[in-house]
């Protein structure tokens, strides 16, 4: 047997787009996930990063069959789950669990923590050694909750504590795989770090694998050994953490990294900035060719017509781009096309040659300027 806990091959999730009216007809397809492949090894974490609407959450939900995949293969611990019935899916859920973003909505407000945490044992008919009550207390203790609070209701806990309840529920049956959908993005910074550490500890204790879905690159870098970047239903780049953050190849990955503001004023001034223009295109009508070309700052004619396949650029480092960026970009601000931030009449904004003039404008402004309003 191989040691891959999760294999996803050419996964597609399309939602029908219906016309309005009394008899809605399907008039199109929203390609939320359009041919995504990856795998997750035992006790490993794969980070799935992207902005809203890129299909990262749908991918996670399709794996656990919370939405039904349109096509593709999903193999969880050796079982292909893509075509399983609900009933046949049930034993698989012992091995694959989910942690949700919003701990407020993921817990039944009318059940006590004890009931919430006993549910996995009850539903899966698992009899833990020492009984369910004992198991619940151990779970609470393991995730850093006071076992004496077993009879409290979710509203009596803070956001971070509620996320701990969600985690305790997910690990109750010692699954092989947990899909974490933005598990820390609703939490305050100081609490976020606590939860990330807890997830890491659980991984080293139980050898659980995570598919960690998040929009925050810094969080993903903290927890994932491998990272896949998604854009408009496609994986555009995938690599080990070290490779991806040291040598990003795809222009979108570059843009994403440079857009994250760094909590360090000096670095913030000096670093490379790419301001992408516009918004995510509609997945109802994705651009032809490379899906990213409409916002790409190095797009060429070929990108508009020919779709780049995901190919291995270096061992373990795949990228879907005709012109991957192999040289480090110069510091300064690079504007994507149609950024709307440049006065009309400035010529064609958005390519390297233009960008350098903008350098000081954004980078060095405010930190040193004693005189407000005094343009630099």
């Amino acid at each position: 047997m191989n040691d891959r806990v999760l294999e996803v091959e050419d996964l597609k999730v399309y939602f029908p787009h219906k016309s309005r009216g009394v008899f809605p007809r399907t008039i199109g397809q929203i390609k939320a996930v359009d041919g995504v492949s990856f795998d997750v090894g035992a006790a490993q974490t794969l980070g799935l990063v992207g902005e809203s609407g890129c299909g990262k959450s749908t991918t996670g939900r399709a794996i656990l069959r919370l939405v039904d995949p349109t096509a593709g293969r999903v193999v969880i611990n050796g079982t292909d789950v893509a075509g399983l019935s609900r009933r046949a899916m049930r034993p698989v859920r012992q091995q694959a669990q989910m942690i949700f973003q919003d701990p407020y909505n993921a817990l039944n407000p009318r059940q006590t923590v004890g009931a919430i945490l006993a549910a996995p044992f009850r539903i899966q008919k698992v009899d833990p050694p020492g009984g369910v009550k004992q198991a619940v207390r151990e779970l609470m203790d393991r995730v850093g909750l006071n076992p004496e609070h077993v009879n409290r209701y979710p509203y009596e806990f803070s956001g971070g504590q509620r996320q701990r309840i969600g985690i305790a529920r997910a690990i109750a049956l010692r699954p092989k795989l947990i899909i974490c959908d933005e598990p820390v993005s609703a939490l305050d910074v100081s609490i976020q770090a606590q939860i990330l550490n807890l997830l890491q500890d659980l991984q080293s204790d139980f050898g659980v694998s995570y598919l960690f879905i998040a929009h925050d690159l810094a969080v993903v870098r903290q927890i994932a050994q491998r990272v896949a970047v998604m854009y408009l239903g496609h994986i555009v780049e995938m690599a080990t953490r070290e490779d991806l953050f040291a040598f990003p190849l795809h222009p979108y990955t570059h843009a994403l990294m440079s857009a994250v503001p760094v909590p360090d004023p000096r670095v913030q001034i000096e670093r490379e900035r790419i301001v992408l223009g516009g918004d995510l295109p509609s997945p109802l009508d994705p651009p032809p060719g490379c899906v990213f070309h409409t916002r790409c700052f190095i797009a060429q004619e070929r990108c508009r017509t020919e779709k780049p396949e995901l190919r291995e650029f270096a061992p373990g480092h795949t990228v879907a781009c005709h012109f991957p960026i192999t040289e480090p970009l110069s510091g300064g601000v690079i504007h994507g096309p149609d950024s709307g931030l440049v006065e009309p009449g400035d010529g064609a904004p958005g390519y390297f040659s233009e960008s350098i003039t903008d350098l000081g404008a954004v980078g060095t402004t405010r930190l040193d300027s004693g005189e407000p309003g005094d343009g630099i």
Partner: protein
Amino acid sequence: MSAFLEVDDLAVSFPTEDGVVKAVAGSSFSVSQGHTLAIVGESGSGKSVTAQAIMGLLNRGYADITGRIVFDGTDLLALDDDEVRRMRGASMAMIFQDPLSSLHPFYRIGDQLAEAVRVHNKVSKSEARARAVDALHRVGIPSPDKRANDYPHQLSGGMRQRVMIAMALINSPSLLIADEPTTALDVTVQAQITELMSELQRETGTTLIIITHDLGVVADMADEVCVMYGGRVVEYAPVRDIYYSPQHPYTQGLLASVPRLATDRVDRLDPIPGNPPSLINLPSGCVFHPRCGQREDVPGDLCRQAEPMLVDAGRDHLVRCYLADQAGAR
């Protein structure tokens, strides 16, 4: 430079069924004209309530507000509702986190912007409309004369936030408060909006207060930083001092707990233990002491018994901690 906005010992509390919520207690800070102040804190730290108090958005019949808020020589808390209303949207304006719920869904954005002009200025409808289109142009909305006829739902999140910024700036306010202006946006769009705000501020010289929990946005935009915890200002300093020599254990803890992109990765983050305090039942003494790793360094049981004052630790650096006091005395 003299303070353009000065908040002095501001306290806001709300009576509720469960007890009095002390949302803000002893908030003091100031902003110089044309500067950007970032108010940083986690949920429940009192940062948004402070902003609402400045903008006169709190219901005075319900909230109990004490202290002084002096804006360009006027004590805002001494004004009556009508006087505040005249200032709001004219000399001071605010941008909210969620642009969709801040724009009226039934009116075209051009009309909403024009209304903001006509409320505060005696101008014709066509003149107001022209100003609205111009404002949309300035915030980088393509073909603004056409877009002015759009309804909010027709715009993307980033575009809506641009409309909000246009509306806030349309009467050239001298003070702009932005409450989590980029939190609801994707990072690439967030970068567009922070750049736009910086650019507009450079052009207009508006004094800016940004309220955020994102230490990255703060590093990007702020001149001075005010860190709030449990309704108090616990540290106030120029931006670099906050990042490179934070004095309050909470600020230090906050900075240590953020995962970072630009520095070497650490195997384990160093979080602040425990949970934020309940505003109804605040801890005695220093509100941070139950979570503080350095309270052993303070002699006796002082941290638990008496609340430290906001003291001057030198170089425009104010800290509410007994340890910082010692540092300042050295």
